[in-house]
């Protein structure tokens, strides 16, 4: 049977998702994702020719707000879940590669 997802594709996906997978994990997830994609094949058998594509399922539309300012979070509260802060900034490792 033809594979639906290759190891290279899995590695690409995990990289995009910032996940570091061990080769053991890769071997575990590969068949799992494979079976999810096989399930999609079953869904694909449904005839959807007369059905409009859907981009959302709530049936709502035009949910907007007026342009008004409401109070923001207190800064100490806003920063409380950051692992490192200084002078009111969130600190992260340097993003410029030298």
């Amino acid at each position: 049977m033809q594979q639906k997802i290759s190891l290279v594709e899995l590695q690409h996906l995990s990289k995009l998702a910032r996940l570091k997978l061990t080769s053991l994990e890769e071997q575990t997830y590969l068949p799992q994702i494979e079976s999810v994609l096989e399930y999609m094949d079953i869904l694909n058998e449904t005839d959807t020719t007369s059905i409009e594509p859907l981009t959302q399922i709530t049936g709502l539309k035009n949910i907007t707000r007026n342009d008004e300012i409401k109070p923001s979070l207190d800064r100490s509260n806003a920063l409380s879940s950051a692992s490192k802060t200084t002078n009111g900034f969130v600190v992260v490792p340097n993003t410029i590669k030298k």
Partner: protein, 487 residues
């Protein structure tokens, strides 16, 4: 060999709404204390629900219409997924399949620049790089996170750096006329990213394309121009050296170094960008009716090109003067406010000369904005009337319009007290003329042989009038008295 640059421009414009795009935090972030305008939505905390700012959507449509775009009556937001520390959710809410505005254009001189889209999205947080505890660190301020951003994408229709600059200036003017953003490149409320490559027709008739390059971090209009110029030269040299041509995957990103005046290769992304866009499930689609779109269209003010043509047609301004005034929206507001006070057809031209002359010089010297100074229309009217009567010289007008910025400055009283009224009274001037003619018989004879020599006699007349004679009238009267004698 024939080399043609192919340039497309992406411009990001921060809207000046009061609140952010998907939450009610204050959208102002310039000089605000870091991380004081944040909430669960713009910090990307789990469970937060984004709700679009209606004004921002409306302004995007307004800009789209001003850029001759079609409006998608049905549109929706999507998620663009990537990881970066200034993007707390791990995705940016933007538009891909159904942006608010598509297929527009701008005409720059004779060039027709097509606009692919003007879509709505949110800004990211702001990073700055520094050293903390002897380590290189990046500091993040999320005040800018979620500020409404419109991205305007041109087609690759631009063929040179000068047109690119003109396109950006025009875009900036239209945005400012609409009052939806300051569109200030230096302050970052407008950001431009040119994408450029070259079409080269070689001597043996072969057409090749150099690899695409996107230029980032250009923080001024002249920077855009210089970066494009640099890149044209660099790509040509690079091709001559390596022979590498454009493929589907060899697009690179280069930064602009404003000190060295050159572009430099930024870290190449491994593999092509893979943003895995999908419709934003938290925000229901938006539908605008024809009536709503018509109403937005009607709210668009007269735009720079139309205004310029009207100034030329209705006020007989020169193309140059009309262009210079309409380049800056605030100047048009000041100009129109002043000219409303008089119906005289010569008044607008008079006002334009003062605004583009002494007022502009003054504002530039003081580094002020023209709307920040007090230009009282009635004072323009007084100076205009006195000029029309010939009672004051243009030198005095130019000086007084600046002094009159002080609301206490009384033009008529000062003209009187400083003795600056010109003598335009005909009999007084005739008396001066007679004295000059009597005292200078030789010069009168010279004039009768050579009419160009009248200048000397005018000078003599000005002298005995103590500089007060109206020079234009003095000339007319001297000519008349010499040729016809006194009546």
């Amino acid at each position: 060999m024939k080399v043609t640059p192919i340039i497309g421009l992406e411009a990001h414009v921060e809207l000046k709404t009061l609140s952010k795009m998907f939450c009610s935090c204050d959208a102002s972030h310039f000089h605000a204390q870091p991380n004081t305008h944040t909430c669960p939505v713009c910090l990307g905390l789990p469970g937060a629900l984004p709700v679009p700012n209606y004004t921002a959507c409306e302004w995007n449509i307004k800009l789209g219409l001003a850029l001759n775009c079609s409006i998608n009556k049905y549109s929706f937001f999507e998620r663009k997924n990537y990881f970066y520390p200034d993007l707390p959710k791990g995705y940016q809410i933007t538009q891909l399949q159904a942006p608010f505005a598509i297929n527009g254009y701008l005409d720059i001189d004779s060039e027709h620049i097509r606009i692919n889209r003007a879509h709505m999205e949110e800004d990211t947080g702001k990073s700055q790089h520094t050293v903390v505890d002897m380590q290189d660190m990046t500091l993040i301020d999320f005040n800018r996170s979620g500020v409404p951003l419109v991205e305007i994408v041109s087609e690759p229709d631009i063929r040179g750096s000068a047109v690119a600059k003109k396109y950006l200036i025009k875009l900036q003017q239209i945005i400012r006329y609409l009052g939806i953003s300051d569109a200030d490149i230096e302050k970052g409320s407008m950001r431009c990213e040119p994408t450029i490559n070259l079409e080269i027709i070689t001597n043996n008739g072969q057409t090749i394309y150099t690899p695409l390059v996107e230029i980032k971090n250009v923080a001024s209009l002249s920077g855009v121009e210089m970066a494009i110029e640099y890149e044209i030269k660099r790509q040509l040299l690079e091709w001559q050296k390596s022979g590498i041509i454009k493929t589907k995957t060899n697009k690179t990103t280069r930064g602009w170094d404003a000190n060295k005046l050159q572009t430099f290769l930024q870290r190449e992304k491994e593999g092509s960008a893979d943003y895995r866009y999908f419709p934003e499930p938290d925000i229901p689609p938006l539908e605008f009716t024809d009536e709503q779109i018509t109403k937005i269209k009607q709210s668009i003010p007269e735009l720079p090109d139309a205004k310029k043509q009207r100034y030329i047609k209705d006020f007989s301004l020169s193309d140059y003067d009309a262009t210079t005034i309409t380049n800056d929206f605030e100047t048009t507001q000041v100009f129109e406010n002043i000219i409303n006070i008089s119906k005289d057809i010569k008044f607008p031209k008079f006002v334009a000369n003062l605004i583009l002359g002494p007022v502009k010089t003054y504002v530039n010297e003081k580094q002020l904005n023209i709307s920040e100074i007090n230009l009282d229309p009635s004072k323009f009217a007084i100076l205009f009337d006195q000029t029309e009567k010939g009672s004051i010289s243009m030198t005095i007008v130019k000086q007084f319009i600046i002094e009159a910025i002080d609301p206490k400055f009384d033009i008529m009283a000062t003209l009187q007290s400083r003795g600056l009224f010109q003598v335009s009274n005909v009999s007084e001037l005739e008396e001066f003329a007679k004295q000059v003619i009597d005292a200078n018989p030789q010069a009168v004879k010279d004039y009768q042989k050579n009419p160009n020599s009248l200048g000397f006699l005018i000078g003599q007349l000005m002298k005995i009038s103590g500089g007060a004679a109206n020079p234009k009238l003095a000339r007319e009267i001297l000519e008349k008295v010499i040729t016809k004698g006194l009546k």
